[in-house]
């Protein structure tokens, strides 16, 4: 009897080991069939940051475009879309659903750094490849996680923040800089590197003001700025609050240049304010090689409008398509016998990829996952939107 039990336990243990091996092997190809690659696209499709989901719409349009071109090595994208509402709890639920219920091959997308940081402990240990296509917190992808699975396909905070800082300090005579910011990881990802650059260039931060999400009035912040008289203002704010801040700044006669993040875009801000005079001193990070409706962006905008004809093209629309181009290149390089490890290895080998979308090229290495290192700035010059590399200097 004892001997039988021993045999039974040994058999069960062997089965367990085999099933684990099977699971490990299945993990490598989970989400793949002979004809499809299942990709999970998370984004804030609802909520007050939902205009960022235009980036995921652009990405999904690109995947559909690739499908219509015949796919990659005989496989087409099978897109599973999940809403995070830019809320960490919903983001975690969305990630778990995509990983364990939908069993996607890889994750791509994710606006809202706070959500991405909250989701990271759920995603990173699984080793599922995850390409960040919009969020900017550098800690999402660096240092390289143990499974080497996370990649940043847009400029992360240091790249964006240093661009903001350099642009501010490129205006002759700027010394005293004030900042208005949300108190979250997303805002810190922009403002902290910008402050470092400003201080290194001899500037000083004379005011640090909070303007939280959902606030509908910025009178107190604007009056403090009026009192402090800075030379430039850093505004690390989401879109709705940027509009409220600029409106109140104009209202109280504060006509100081404002440098905004990639969380806003020039045309959208103008549309929401409905007042060109209120945005004439507003400068904003601009990730693209051209104006949003410029000739170099037409190809990409056309792809979006082909698959989402009711979509309004804004400065967010094509941002994530660049990392889509990188993903497609890596999937092609990984070959027909695709596994997650091969895909990760192919992503790590992308060097100097000019996507024709972003103002930076994409380079990923085994030790650096911030693929994109620079950005342009957009602002109104003589009443017309212009792409700038420094104060008064065209891109």
């Amino acid at each position: 009897m004892k001997h039988r039990t021993k045999k039974y336990l040994s058999a069960m243990a062997a089965l367990g080991v085999l099933s684990m091996i099977g699971a490990a092997s299945a993990d490598e190809t989970t989400g793949l069939t002979d004809t499809t690659i299942k990709v999970g696209v998370m984004g804030p499709f609802t909520g007050n940051a939902s205009s960022y989901s235009k980036t995921q719409i652009g990405l999904m349009a690109y995947f559909k475009h690739i499908n219509d071109q015949g796919g990659i090595n005989g496989r087409k994208f099978d897109i599973v879309q999940e809403d995070t509402a830019c809320a960490p709890a919903k983001g975690i639920a969305a990630a778990k659903k995509l990983i364990y219920q939908d069993e996607v091959f890889y994750l791509h997308g994710n606006s809202c750094s706070g959500v991405a940081m909250a989701v990271k402990p759920t995603v990173a240990p699984t080793g599922i490849p995850w390409i960040i296509a919009h969020a900017v917190n550098p800690k999402i992808s660096m240092p390289v996680n143990e499974k080497r699975s996370i990649f940043h396909g847009v400029p992360a905070g240091p790249a964006y923040g240093s661009t903001m800082g350099k642009f501010v300090m490129s205006k002759p005579g700027v010394k005293r800089v004030a900042m208005v910011t949300h108190t979250n990881d997303w805002a810190k990802a922009y403002c902290d590197p910008a402050i470092e650059v400003i201080k290194a260039a001899g500037g000083e931060i004379i005011e640090e003001l909070a303007l939280e999400r959902g606030q509908t009035d910025a009178t107190a912040q604007v009056l403090k700025l009026k009192q402090a008289k800075p030379d430039f203002i850093l505004a690390c704010l989401y879109e709705a609050e940027t509009v409220i801040f600029l409106r109140d700044a104009k209202k109280y006669g504060v006509r100081i240049p404002v440098m905004g993040t990639a969380g806003t875009d020039l045309e959208n801000t103008l549309e929401r304010l409905g007042d060109p005079d209120a945005v004439k001193d507003y400068y904003v990070l601009h990730a693209f090689v051209d104006k949003v409706d410029g000739p170099k962006m037409k190809k990409w905008n056309d792809i979006i409008l082909k698959y989402y004809p009711n979509e309004t093209i804004t400065g967010f629309s094509a941002v994530s398509m660049a990392s889509g181009v990188a993903a497609v290149k890596a999937l092609e390089a990984a070959g027909r016998d695709l596994t997650r490890s091969k895909f990760i290895a192919a992503l790590e080998n992308i060097r100097g990829l000019e996507t024709g979308i972003l103002a930076c090229d994409i380079t990923w290495t085994p030790t650096d996952r911030h693929g994109c290192k620079k950005s342009a700035v957009a602002g109104f010059v003589d009443g017309k939107p212009a792409i700038l590399s420094a104060w008064g200097k065209a891109w």
Partner: protein, 291 residues
């Protein structure tokens, strides 16, 4: 002194909206003892109704706003009749759950329809700011203050100077007594839900051109409405207004003179402070139970 006056002016305009929302919550609370935890979403729904009427149906703004208020009035009556009356015999917590759920249903509906956008709300007014020395009295401040003042005057005149007001006060004081003298209390509850939602909708319509319009808009105002109610005294109509105005002014001045991070938590600080120091608020009455 300039900064204090400017902040106070802006705070009064914000506070007028908080007060209006708190008053609309108080009307329902006084009439039915139900605290409407979904009220912020009804505020949002009022603003979105105007948006639909103006943008999609092409109505002029003012008729659209009036129609939206009427729609919200009937929605309030319908909610009372369809969702609140049937659970009256259940535990009181059921009212809270129901109001939260109805609010989320509205929010979810708005997210489904307009989820990915933050909309600029059309403006009915374009009033040039008035400058008194360095002091700026903006069009927003003038318009919101004027509308709220007119509404409150009408509301309090009806409440204290008309036969309808006497009926309302009678039911507030004793539902059983009101029933005995022939007042239809159920219909009264339904009307007060209608009035509450209509007034909340006016708050939403006034604030949306300033705050922009999005489905989660109401959450910000719900907590401020509660804070204004608490400060003014739960159940006090005048207290709701005074509480809202004081909260608006406090937010601005705390933000400027102490720290801008305080603006977002002023409402919570007010609730905590009032409940600890004077639980009845400024104008509330302590409830005494004779045993």
């Amino acid at each position: 002194m300039y900064y204090f006056l400017q902040l106070t002016l802006s705070g009064l305009a914000q506070g007028a909206i908080y007060g209006l929302i708190a008053l609309s919550m108080t009307v329902v609370y006084r009439a039915t003892t139900v605290v409407n935890f979904g009220h912020g979403d009804f505020v949002m729904a009022g603003a979105f109704t105007v948006y639909v009427l103006v943008i999609y149906l092409g109505l002029p703004y003012v008729p659209a706003a009036v129609l939206a208020v009427v729609i919200m009035f009937f929605l309030g009556m319908g909610i009372s009749r369809g969702f609140i009356d049937p659970i009256k015999t259940g535990p009181h917590i059921g009212f809270a759950m129901m109001s939260i759920s109805l609010g989320y249903v509205l929010r979810g509906g708005a997210r489904t329809l307009w989820g990915r956008e933050v909309f600029p709300m059309p403006r009915v007014y374009d009033i040039d700011p008035i400058f008194i020395g360095e002091l700026v009295v903006t069009g927003d401040v003038l318009f919101i203050s004027a509308i709220v003042a007119v509404l409150l005057t009408i509301f309090f005149l009806i409440f204290y100077r008309t036969a309808i007001g006497i009926v309302i006060q009678a039911v507030y004081q004793s539902e059983r007594g009101a029933t005995l003298v022939g007042i239809n209390v159920q219909a009264f509850h339904q009307s007060m839900w209608g009035v509450g939602l209509a007034m909340g909708a006016i708050g939403g319509i006034l604030i949306a051109p300033i705050s922009l319009l999005y489905p989660d808009l109401g959450a910000t105002f719900l907590i401020r409405g509660f804070a204004a109610m608490t400060l003014g005294g739960f159940g006090s109509l005048g207290g709701a207004i005074v509480g809202g105005l004081l909260l608006g002014v406090a937010e601005q001045n705390f933000g400027f003179y102490i720290n801008t991070a305080l603006i977002d938590i002023t409402a919570y600080l007010v609730i905590v402070a009032v409940l600890v120091i004077r639980p009845t608020g400024l104008f509330g009455k302590a409830v005494t139970v004779r045993v």
